[in-house]
Symmetry: C2
Subunit: 127 residues, 2 copies
Amino acid sequence: MDTLATWHQILEQRDPARLGEILAEDCVFLSPVVHTPQEGRELTTFYLTGAMHVFNDSFHYVKEVVSGDHAVLEFVCDMDGIVVNGVDILTFDASGKITEFKVMVRPLKAVNLLHARMKAMLEQLAS
Amino acid sequence: MDTLATWHQILEQRDPARLGEILAEDCVFLSPVVHTPQEGRELTTFYLTGAMHVFNDSFHYVKEVVSGDHAVLEFVCDMDGIVVNGVDILTFDASGKITEFKVMVRPLKAVNLLHARMKAMLEQLAS
């Protein structure tokens, strides 16, 4: 399975409904803000859907470092004049599905902005 | 040149004096906290020296994703009960020297703790 190609398609088409194709059932999401892992495909889908709504069209990847069971995708996104620079760190199982989706962001201003935006978006999605 | 092997030696021996062996003259340091790049081997050495003083012996790498001109080293460090989880994202020139050293950290608590500790350490080193 070409998980990364599918992931890029999902992002381009803003189609979170297809996340089930690439996330393992026991996938864990690790946010840039909170320490506690969010466990399971459902919660991971919830967070990634939120992120797809929060990031605008300026979001694009600038590096893709892949080796073995891991891929690191570095992105940049301009949010109201603040440059959000981050990485998606993916871990794959033997079948190529994503078992861990970890996000880190810099600089501090961007972490704080993303924190506020994601909180509002997740509350909206959950209501 | 095996830059990564030298980097691991420098860290193990806490020997920032050897950073000149692996940093390109025009190396740029990008901090997890501040947007503005810190330009040049001297400033990069200053920041990495500060980091080596701030991180304790619990610092260790948990992933090494290397491909082409890039290496992503994921680390974990326990600082006073707060788990600092981060990545060093390195870019190499044709001779294998590091031209960009970028750091990102999660979660937010860890970014704030590192911010405070690095600020105090860099002021001490500069005085």
